[in-house]
Amino acid sequence: MKPFQIVVCGGIVPDPLQTLEPISSPTGPALKNELMLPAVLDPWAGHALYEAANLAKKIPGSKVYLVALGPKAKLQQVMMTVGQKAPFELVAIDGPGGGFTDAHETAAALAAAILAIPGYDKSSLLLFGGWESATRGAGATLQIVGEMLGVTDQFQGVDRITVRDDGSFDVLERVESGHHQVATCAGAPAVLGWATGDLGEPRNDPQVGMANMRAIMPALQKAKPVKVGADGLSYLKVELPKQQRQTRIEKDMNADQIAAEIFEWISK
């Protein structure tokens, strides 16, 4: 079977365990103290990366690339954790990490970086990424990257891919009402936007980390700076999911009353 070139697009986001507070900054919407917050690989992209590594392991000769756009220093920090999880070659792009960037411009930067990968071969390309994103992007970036690369077979909400010996594959996709559908694709190239997949987070493997490290640091040093969404954008409206946390001490309510109040609160 012809090996795949699996390119995973993944941004970085503030560690979801942090308290996130939206603010307006001179350059547009931002999160309070965002530079101080530790970052992680976008969890949706993380699923895609682990699925990519799992697939590459099964099909000899396949290779995984992680194309990531973000501030170089933060990318570096995140790679020390992600680099222990799965073997990949990093393609780093030094750009803003705010997430409130124009999907088209972001996609253009990612597509350009993918086209510049030495030995890029569209005919064996599987473009992976998150179906959703925690980067505060519009959720359309992966699709646009695929379009820019001329890849028209696109699947979103993917939970499983089963590859046949001839390179064709079945895709388990999420559809409305909590159901899945199975689509069959003749083979690469294709875009797969992953939902959660069905793999757990891999263990931290020091050997994988050491092997990745040899390419990660040079990739970071070579990271090309891009201006994504920095000029000419104005934000008409930005909405972030608000952290809704209310603490109240109630000593005289029974469980039913508490449940009723929580139900009413959620229903608002």
Binding site: N33, L37, P38, Q76, Q77, Q84, E201, M210, M217
Partner: protein
């Protein structure tokens, strides 16, 4: 989890050869790696020396850090930053989030505004005098501002730092250098010891259940073989303690003095205009034994916290509640009321200082940082000292590498330990060595002892041999004798068991401590604090790191200090009388290690604190 010694089944383990294996990334390791990384490369970019583990490559220097990211779950400080500034002569505090220069410093004696504090007769007389001589004090605020800060406490030329942010800043530069590798989320289980030599470290097993037994995704911890192992895993790190056990301690040295430091990072209300760089040191409240502080960072952010020492004999060491009472002291509440809790954390401090210094080097290993006894217990300074020990080791290591000399005990003693003996860390550590001994007999004698040691450069001190913490912890019946009767304590204990309520909180209530008026913003429940800021993470597939060795002994224990001290309420009363441990709440402060009152062997209590993964995801403490 209740079980004894872990089984050591024969497992084929992967291994990796490196040149220098490093354990723990804190200020000491920051100093070591910063100095080393700069000296491994010549000006023309060529390598100063070649790797022995990977010929043709530069020396392979790998650091493993337990926490999930660099700078997680550590503390904030005020420091003179002498060693740090020597490493970064052009350091601009504005480059490091939350950092700022110290602008003014005050020492406060806090009176008890609620009447629940347990004060000695001497303190009660002092309090009365202060209240009678109103011109001396801000009596409306129940505080006395000392007219001057003793020189030995002074940090006037120093920096306020969030160590989390500082570590991230240092780590970012180190990773950018490409000379060293730092891997977070990778706890080191133990040192690999062959005879008298340390030959590397073993990483923890992954894919195991709570008790350490392999499950379906088992991955044996890798053996990292190294010519030199640098141990900087702090005061409660398992590798440092393993070396203490295996190689013993120098004559008359021991680690018996501890404290838990607990703090909150607070967004101050808009009307508060405290100058960034303002530092308050306090003593006297909430209990005379508990010291406190407040630091003002830029952008109207403050850090406020307390230290609960091991010589505070009360079994009721509920640090979180004491922290809230401290925040509500009128002197600070005027600044804090209306503020918002941003994050929170806790950490054990090794307070034995120089007296707790282990063998600093041996065949194949060297010790740096707090676990190497570098903290100055007179000046209350540890970060700068730890950093400096790291730089001293790095200079020695470079000399040995250049001279192609092996990392033997003899060579490390010459290259590192001799350097350390000549340093200001050693000189000032000796002055401080007995400065806190007086606290063994009480607060007043402790303060006098500190004053004498500070004012005479250590020539005079109230010397005493510290008792191990487990020998000092008293039962509630003994500690509250005269205030509460035995039957009353027993009734409270039974009622709490029946109601699944906190015994220690109930004792504090009974002693007159008022209930905390939770506001959901700054004054939140202990469990809510775990969800503010960074939150606690406990990745699956790792064994419990807190172990009650002999559960039947726990059942006999009346003090339950491990429950009251636990910073995250991760240790709670168990139904069968043995405490329960919940890894998903553990902030890895390590206080349980030195708060068990049950000695099961010489210098060994019934709680083991092993290598563990996860912890607080806060980087701004």
């Amino acid at each position: 989890m209740h079980h004894g010694e872990p089984q050591e089944p024969e497992i084929e383990r992967p291994s990796l050869e490196v040149d220098i294996a490093c354990v723990g990334f804190g200020p000491a390791m920051g100093g070591f790696l910063t100095t080393l990384a700069r000296k491994l490369v010549n000006e023309d970019g060529s390598n100063v020396v070649e790797s022995s583990a990977m010929p043709g490559m530069p020396p392979q220097v790998i650091c493993y850090e337990r926490a999930d990211d660099l700078g997680f779950g550590v503390s904030g400080v005020v420091t003179r930053a002498r060693g740090i500034r020597q490493s970064f002569p052009d350091l601009n505090a504005a480059d490091i989030p939350m950092a700022t220069a110290v602008t003014n410093e005050k020492v406060l004696y806090l009176l008890d505004p609620v009447g629940a504090s347990r004060r000695s007769a001497a303190l009660r007389i002092a309090d009365k005098l202060i209240k009678n001589f109103k011109f001396l004090s801000k009596t409306e605020l129940n505080a006395v501002e000392l007219p001057y800060t003793p020189e030995f406490l002074n940090k006037h030329d120093g920096l306020l730092l969030s160590i989390g942010q500082f570590n991230q800043w240092v780590g970012s530069q180190l990773l950018g250098s490409g000379s060293v590798q730092i891997w977070p989320g990778m706890p080191v289980d133990k040192a690999l010891i062959k005879g008298h030599d340390v030959v590397g470290v073993r990483l923890v097993d992954q894919g195991v259940d709570k008790t350490g037994n392999p499950d379906a995704s088992f991955m044996a911890g890798m053996d990292i073989k190294a010519a030199l192992t640098v141990v900087a895993d702090g005061p409660v790190g398992p590798v440092g303690r393993q070396l203490d056990d295996h190689f013993g301690m120098p004559h008359d040295h021991h680690v018996r003095d501890w404290a838990i430091g607990m703090k909150a990072v607070v967004d101050l209300p808009a009307h508060v205009n405290l100058e960034p760089g303002t530092v308050f040191h306090t003593f006297g409240y909430p209990e005379p034994e508990i010291f406190g502080f407040m630091y003002v960072h830029p952008d109207r952010v403050a850090t406020i916290g307390i230290f609960v020492p091991s010589w505070f004999d009360s079994p009721v060491r509920t640090s979180y509640r004491y922290l809230q009472h401290f925040m509500m002291h009128p002197y600070f509440w005027r600044y804090l009321e209306g503020g918002t809790l941003r994050s929170w954390g806790a950490k054990s401090l090794q307070e034995s200082g120089k007296r707790g210094e282990p063998f600093l080097a041996g065949n194949g290993y060297a010790r740096i940082g707090e676990g190497s006894g570098s903290t100055n217990v007179l000046t209350g300074s540890g970060v700068d000292e730890a950093w400096t020990t790291g730089t001293l080791l790095a200079e020695g290591v470079i000399d040995l590498l250049k001279d192609k000399l092996p990392f033997t005990r003899e060579n490390l003693n010459k290259a590192y330990v001799d350097r350390r003996r000549q340093s200001w860390v050693e000189r000032e550590g000796r002055i401080a060595e007995h400065a806190r001994d007086g606290f063994q007999h009480g607060v007043v004698s402790g303060l006098i002892g500190m004053g004498l040691a500070g004012l005479t450069n250590g020539a005079i001190a109230l010397r005493a041999e510290p008792a191990p913490p487990h020998a000092r912890i008293q039962s509630p019946e003994k500690y509250f004798a005269g205030k509460l009767t035995h039957p009353e304590i027993e009734r409270i204990r039974e009622q709490c068991l029946a109601d699944n309520a906190n015994f220690h909180d109930a004792l504090m209530d009974r002693c007159g401590w008022p209930a905390i008026p939770y506001d959901g913003k700054l004054l939140v429940t202990h469990q809510d604090a775990l969800l503010v800021g960074g939150k606690v993470q406990a990745p699956a597939g790792y064994a419990d790191h807190v172990v009650f060795v002999q559960p039947e002994i726990c059942k006999q224990c009346g003090s339950r200090t491990c429950v009251s001290i636990c910073s995250g309420q991760a240790i709670t009363e168990g139904e069968d009388g043995t405490p329960k441990f919940d890894r998903e709440k553990c902030v890895h402060c390590g206080a349980c290690l030195w708060n068990c009152s049950q000695e099961i062997a010489r210098n060994k209590t019934n709680i083991e604190f092993r290598a563990g993964a996860g912890g607080l995801h806060s980087a701004e403490n």
